[in-house]
Amino acid sequence: MSFFEQIEPLKLAALAEFAAAPDFAALEQAKGAHLGPQGRFTALLKQLGTLPKEEKPAAGKLVNLAKVELEAALTARRTELELKAALPKDPTDFTLPGRRRPLGKLHPLTRVTEDIVRIFRKLGFAVADGPEIEDEYHCFDALNTPADHPARDSQDTFYLNLDRAVPGAAGAPPPQTGRMLLRTHTSSVQIRVMQGQPPPIRIIVPGRVYRRDNADATHNPTFQQIEGLYVDKHVTVGDLKGTVEFVFKELLGADVKLRFRPHYFSYTEPSFEIDFSSPMVRKMGKEWLELAGCGMVHPKVFANVGYDPEIWTGWAFGFGIERIAMLRYEINDIRLFYENDTRFLRQF
C-alpha cells in the first residue's frame, strides 16, 4: 500500500476506537495506540520523512489534516464521557415537588387599599392620615352634624374612658372639643387637613374607622374606609363625576356603569350615593349595588376650617375598603379579614 492509501484506513480505525471507548481509561488507551509515541498513526507520521521530496508537501498536508481530525474527535469524545460520568446514577424526577421559598402575602385589605391609592396618585392625590381617636368636634361638629344627631349616640359610636388629667402636669392634654371617641369615618381627617394647610387640597385618606356594631357576616366593629377630598377654585359636580368614574372604572373594570343618586350627608351638599352595575352585579340578581357616598363640600364645613366658600369649592367621597375587597374576591364574610386564617391570607 502506498503512503497515501494508508492514511484514510488508519484514521477511520482510530476514530472508531475513540467512539467506542466506554470510559476515560479506554479512551486514553486508544489514544496511546494511535497517537502515542508508539502509536500507529505516529508511525505513519514517521514514514513521512522517507517519501520522495516531491511527494512530501501533499503527504504532509493530508497527514496533518487527519491528525487534527483525530484530535478533535478525541476532545469531543472526552466531553461526552465527562458528561456521562457527571449524570446521577438515576435520572432526576422532575415531577417531585421543589423546595419552596414561599413569598409572604399582603393582607387583601392592604392590596385593595394600595390599588385605590395607586389610582388616585395617577391624578396627583397625596395620601394623608389622621388620628383614630378623635374628639367630637372633628368627627361631628366641624362636619356640620347636628348636636342631637343619632350618629353621636353611644349606641352607635365608641367613646373612651380617659383618666382625669392632672392640670399642669407634663403632657397635659390640649383643650379638647367634646368627648373623645373612636372616629366613625375617615371624614374627620378632612377637617384636620384643611385646618392644617391652605387650599388647594388633593388628598386621599385610607384608614380604620369604628362603629358600635356587633360582629356578623357584614359588620365588624372595626372596618376600613378611604376618603377623597379635592378643594380648589372652580371645582364642580362635573369634576366629581369625572373623577369618580375614572377611579371606579380603573378599580372595577371598564365595563362598570355608575349612577349618582341624590342623597343626604350633613357635610356635603349636594350629596349623592354612587351605585354601580356590572355583569357581576347582575349575576348577584341585582341591577345596581351601592358603592360610595359623595358630594360637594358643604359651605359650613369650609367656614368651620376658615376657607372662604365663595372662593373655594370642592368635593369629597368615601367608601368601605372591605366592601370593595368582598366584591372583588367574592368574600362573603367580613370577619375573615380580621381572623387572619393563613389559608385565607395565602389566597391573595
Binding site: 397625596a126 383614630e132 342631637d148 392634654p173 362635573g238 369625572g242 349618582f260 343626604y264
Partner: protein, 816 residues
C-alpha cells in the same frame, strides 16, 4: 316610609309604569328599598255566561259550549258536568295563567284543539283558581253576577296596587307623607299637585270650639302651636273598606274609624294628629276643659296607650287637662282619654312640637312611634290647621257626628317664611352646567317654592314654605336644582391632574416598603382587631402609658383599645392552630393606643410572630422537621432592619421573664429602644393551645420612621486587592457573649480588618462544662495593596492576645 301607587295617583297624574316610578323616585333621591305588588289575583279571569252546551262530537264526557265573556262569544270545550246553559261561571282567557301551586310553574292557557274541536279559554273550578271551595265541577257564580266583570272584583278582592318602601333621608321630613312624595313627582313631571279639597259644613249649631275647650301653652318653646277641634256625636265603629285598606297596605293596623282617620291624615300630609275622648277630659270652671301643654313634673307617672306606666322628668312635654296628664306630647296618647267604643265627642289635636325635645323623650323612654318619628325630624308648623280640617272632614264622613264651629288654635308667633337668594351663576359654577335663570326658577317653582324674581339675570329670591325646613341657604337650593335637572344630565369632566400634598404621603410609601421587604422574607401580613379584651395576654403598656378602655364597650371581649399588636397576633396564632395551620410567619402593621395623663395616645407599630416549621414542607433532608427558634426571628429582624436602612441595632437581654416572655431582649439603637423580641412564656402558650415555641417581636414603627436613615445607597468600589483570612477557635466561659467578643475586636481595632464572622458555636466533646467553643473568621484586606502574612500577623496576634486576657479565652487547635 311606605306609599302605594294608587294613593300617589290621587294627588298627581303620571303615566309611569310601576318600575319606572321606582326608578324615578330613586333618581331624585328617594331610594326605593322594596317594591311589593298587591292584589292582581285572577288576572284574565272574568265572569262569563254559558249560552249553549252541546255534546262534543268526538268525546262523550266533554261538551262544547258557546260562552259570553262580556265582549263577545267564544267556543269552549269543557269536561265538567255540573252546569247548564244560562249558568254564570269563571272563565280564564287565553294568555292568562292559573295560580301556581307551590313548587310548580304557573299554567298558561292557550287556544288549542281538544279532540279536534277548538277551545278559546277554560271555564274554571274553584280548585283550579286556588279558592277554598271543594266542588266537583265548575264554580257556579250567582245569577246577578255581571258578565265580563273581572272575577277579583266580583269576589270583592282588592284591586291591584304597588307598595313602595322608601328610604327617606333625615333632612327631608316633608317626604314622610304621600303628598310629599306626590309633590316630588309633580316637580319631575310638571303635572300639578292636587291636594284634596277640604270643605267643612258651615255653621252647624253644635256650638263653638271656644265654648268647649281652651288651650294654654305653658312651654311655648317646646310647643309653639296647638290646635283643638271638637266633633260631637260620632259613632265609633269599623272603618270603611277604602280607609282600612289604605292603612293596611302600608302596614298600619286598622283600629276604629276615628283613630284610622288620624293615622290616614298623618300618612297623607305628614302631620301627626291625636283624638281624645272629650268626655274623659276633666272640666273645671264652667264645664269647659283647658288643654295645658306643660313640662312633666320630676318623677311624674303617666300611663301611655300601650298600657305602660312611664316615669317622666321636666325634659318631657305633656298634654294635660287641669287635673291630669292626657298625652305624652308628640309621642303617644294616654290610656285615660283614648277613643273607645263609648266615645261620642272627640277632641282632635293638631300641634307642632320641638324636634329635639321629642327625640330626647322618645329616646329616653325607648318609645318610637309614627308620630314621634315625624315630629323628631321636623313637622310642618304651617299645616296643622289644614290637617285638622281634613281629619274633621273624614271623621264626619266615616263616623258621622257634627263639627263644632271653629277651632282653638294657640299659635302665638307664626314664623315668617325664610327668604333665600339664589345666584344663577353660582348654580352653574358649582354643578358644572349651563342652566338659564328660567330653568332654575322653573325647577324651584315646581317644588312648590315661591320665587319672587328680582333680577332676572343674576339672582332670584325664593320664599321657603313651612314644609321645607331643610332649605336654609343657597347651597340647599342649588341641590334642588341639581336633583330636578338630573344628576345624569350633569356632564362628567375629565380629572384634572395636579400635585397634591400631605406629609403622610411619604410615610405611606415607607410603610409599603416595609411590607415589600417583609413579604419578600416570606412573612404573611395580618390585620387584627383594634378592640380587644383587657384580659388578653400581653395587655401591657410602656410607662407612662396606661391602657385605654372604652366607655361603652359592646362586650368584655372588646373593652379596651389594643396597647400592643402582640395580643392580636397571639389570638391569630390560636385561631390558626385550632384549624391545624401550625406553621406561621406573620407580621402586622397597625396602631396601638394608650393614655398618658388623661390624653389619648396613638403609635404605629410593627409586630412579628413565628412558630412551627422553619421551612416549607419538603420530602427529604435532615432539617425538614426543624422548628423555628429565636434566631430565625432575630435573623428576620436583622435582615429587615438592615434592608430598611438601620445598622448597629443591639439586642439587650432582659434579666427576668415577663408576663408575656419567657426570655426576651430589647432592641436598642443608640439611646432609642426600638422594640422587643422574645419567646412566649409557656403559661400563655398553653392557655392558647400553642404547642410549638412561639417567637414574638414588636417594633415602634413611628420611632423607626423618625430616625435618620441614609436616603440613598452609595456605591463602594469592589475590592481590587486579595484578602487574607485568619480563623480563631477558642474556648470561652458560657457567660461570654458574642457581643463581648465583638467589643474586644472593637477595642483591639486590628489594622486592615475588614470583617468578623462567627461560623461555629459548639458545646460537647472536648469542651469542658461551663465553657463553649466559638470559631471566628477574620478577614483582612488593604484597599490599595496586597497584604502579606507579615502585614497581618502583628495585628492579628494582638487581637488574639486581647481575647486571652479580656475573655479568658483558650485557643483551640489551628488558632492564629
Amino acid at each position: 316610609m311606605k306609599v302605594t301607587l294608587n294613593w300617589l295617583k290621587q294627588y298627581v297624574a303620571f303615566d309611569w309604569s310601576p318600575e319606572e316610578l321606582a326608578e324615578r323616585l330613586t333618581m331624585i333621591g328617594i331610594e326605593v328599598e322594596g317594591v311589593q305588588r298587591l292584589g292582581g289575583e285572577f288576572e284574565g279571569v272574568v265572569v262569563a255566561q254559558v249560552l249553549t252546551r252541546d255534546r262534543h262530537p268526538n268525546a262523550d264526557r266533554l261538551s262544547v259550549c258557546r260562552v259570553a265573556d262580556g265582549k263577545g262569544e267564544r267556543q269552549i270545550v269543557c269536561g265538567a258536568q255540573n252546569f247548564q246553559a244560562g249558568d254564570k261561571v269563571p272563565l280564564i282567557l287565553p294568555g292568562a295563567s292559573l295560580p301556581a301551586k307551590p313548587g310548580t310553574p304557573p299554567f298558561t292557557i292557550k287556544v288549542g284543539k281538544i279532540r279536534n274541536v277548538e277551545s278559546h279559554g277554560m271555564m274554571c273550578s274553584p280548585q283550579e283558581l286556588g279558592l277554598p271551595e271543594q266542588i266537583d265541577g265548575l264554580l257556579i257564580l250567582s245569577p246577578d253576577a255581571v258578565v265580563g266583570q273581572p272575577l277579583a272584583e266580583y269576589l270583592g278582592r282588592p284591586g291591584s296596587d304597588v307598595v313602595y318602601d322608601l328610604e327617606i333621608t333625615p333632612n327631608r321630613p316633608d317626604l314622610n307623607s304621600v303628598v310629599g312624595i306626590a309633590r316630588e313627582i309633580s316637580a319631575v313631571t310638571g303635572n300639578p299637585l292636587r291636594l284634596p279639597e277640604v270643605t267643612l259644613p258651615a255653621t252647624t249649631g253644635a256650638g263653638s270650639a271656644e265654648s268647649l275647650v281652651a288651650v294654654r301653652l305653658d312651654a311655648p318653646e317646646l310647643c309653639p302651636r296647638y290646635s283643638a277641634r271638637v266633633i260631637r256625636g260620632v259613632k265609633i265603629g269599623p272603618s270603611p273598606a277604602w280607609l282600612r285598606q289604605s292603612l293596611e297596605k302600608v302596614g298600619i293596623r286598622s283600629i276604629s274609624n276615628v283613630v284610622d282617620v288620624t293615622n290616614f291624615v298623618m300618612l297623607e300630609i305628614g302631620q301627626p294628629l291625636h283624638a281624645f275622648d272629650y268626655h274623659l277630659l276633666t272640666a273645671t270652671n264652667g264645664g269647659r276643659p283647658t288643654i295645658v301643654v306643660r313640662r312633666a313634673a320630676d318623677g311624674e307617672k303617666f300611663t301611655t296607650l300601650d298600657g305602660k306606666q312611664r316615669t317622666l322628668s321636666p325634659e318631657s312635654l305633656l298634654i294635660a287637662d287641669e287635673a291630669k296628664a292626657i298625652a305624652l306630647a308628640g309621642v303617644m296618647g294616654g290610656q285615660n282619654t283614648e277613643i273607645n267604643d263609648q266615645t261620642v265627642d272627640v277632641l282632635l289635636e293638631s300641634a307642632y312640637f320641638d324636634p329635639r325635645n321629642i327625640r330626647a323623650t322618645a329616646k329616653k323612654l325607648e318609645l318610637r312611634t309614627d308620630a314621634s318619628y315625624r315630629y323628631e325630624r321636623g313637622a310642618d308648623i304651617g299645616i296643622c290647621d289644614w290637617a285638622s280640617r281634613r281629619a274633621a272632614q273624614l271623621i264626619l264622613q266615616t263616623a258621622g257626628g257634627q263639627l263644632v264651629d271653629g277651632v282653638v288654635d294657640a299659635f302665638p308667633q307664626p314664623p315668617s317664611h325664610k327668604q333665600i337668594t339664589l345666584r344663577h351663576g353660582k348654580v352653574n359654577d358649582l354643578l358644572g352646567v349651563r342652566l338659564s335663570p328660567t330653568e332654575n326658577v322653573q325647577h324651584l317653582q315646581r317644588l312648590g317654592l315661591n320665587v319672587t324674581i328680582q333680577n332676572a339675570d343674576e339672582y332670584c329670591m325664593v320664599s321657603i314654605p313651612s314644609f321645607r325646613i331643610d332649605l336654609k341657604q343657597e347651597i340647599d337650593l342649588i341641590e334642588e336644582v341639581a336633583r330636578l335637572h338630573g344628576i345624569n344630565n350633569i356632564p362628567a369632566t375629565a380629572p384634572r391632574a395636579a400635585k397634591g400634598f400631605h406629609p403622610y404621603d411619604a410615610v405611606h410609601d415607607e410603610l409599603a416598603d416595609v411590607r415589600r421587604i417583609l413579604t419578600g422574607l416570606g412573612l404573611n401580613e395580618t390585620q387584627g382587631q383594634t378592640l380587644i379584651s383587657d384580659q388578653s395576654p400581653g395587655v401591657v403598656t410602656t410607662a407612662p402609658w396606661t391602657v385605654l378602655p372604652l366607655a361603652n364597650p359592646l362586650s368584655s371581649d372588646m373593652n379596651v383599645l389594643r396597647p400592643s399588636l402582640l395580643p392580636g397576633l397571639i389570638a391569630t396564632a390560636r385561631h390558626n392552630l385550632n384549624r391545624k395551620n401550625a406553621d406561621l410567619a406573620l407580621f402586622e402593621i397597625g396602631r396601638v393606643f394608650g393614655q398618658a395623663n388623661g390624653q389619648a395616645q396613638e403609635q404605629r407599630r410593627l409586630a412579628f410572630l413565628l412558630t412551627g416549621l422553619r421551612q416549607a414542607p419538603f420530602w427529604s433532608g435532615t432539617e425538614r422537621e426543624a422548628r423555628c427558634d429565636i434566631y430565625d426571628l432575630k435573623g428576620l429582624l436583622e435582615e429587615f432592619l438592615e434592608q430598611f436602612g438601620f445598622r448597629g441595632v443591639a439586642f439587650s437581654r432582659r434579666a427576668d421573664s415577663t408576663a408575656l416572655f419567657l426570655e426576651s431582649a430589647t432592641l436598642q439603637l443608640g439611646k432609642n429602644t426600638l422594640g422587643e423580641i422574645g419567646m412566649l412564656t409557656p403559661v400563655v402558650a398553653r392557655a392558647n393551645d400553642l404547642r410549638d415555641p412561639v417567637f414574638l417581636a414588636e417594633l415602634n414603627l413611628d420611632l423607626l420612621l423618625s430616625l435618620f436613615r441614609p436616603s440613598a445607597r452609595s456605591f463602594k468600589p469592589l475590592p481590587a486587592q486579595p484578602a487574607i483570612r485568619r480563623d480563631v477557635a477558642m474556648l470561652v466561659p458560657e457567660a461570654t457573649t458574642h457581643e463581648a467578643v465583638l467589643a474586644a475586636v472593637r477595642q483591639a481595632k486590628p489594622a486592615n480588618l475588614e470583617s468578623t464572622q462567627l461560623f461555629d458555636v459548639f458545646r460537647g466533646k472536648n469542651v469542658p462544662p461551663g465553657q463553649k467553643s466559638l470559631a471566628y473568621a477574620f478577614t483582612y484586606r488593604h484597599a490599595e495593596r496586597t497584604l502579606t502574612d507579615a502585614d497581618v500577623n502583628a495585628a492579628h496576634e494582638k487581637l488574639v492576645e486581647l481575647f486571652k486576657t479580656n475573655l479568658q479565652a483558650v485557643l483551640r487547635e489551628g488558632g492564629a
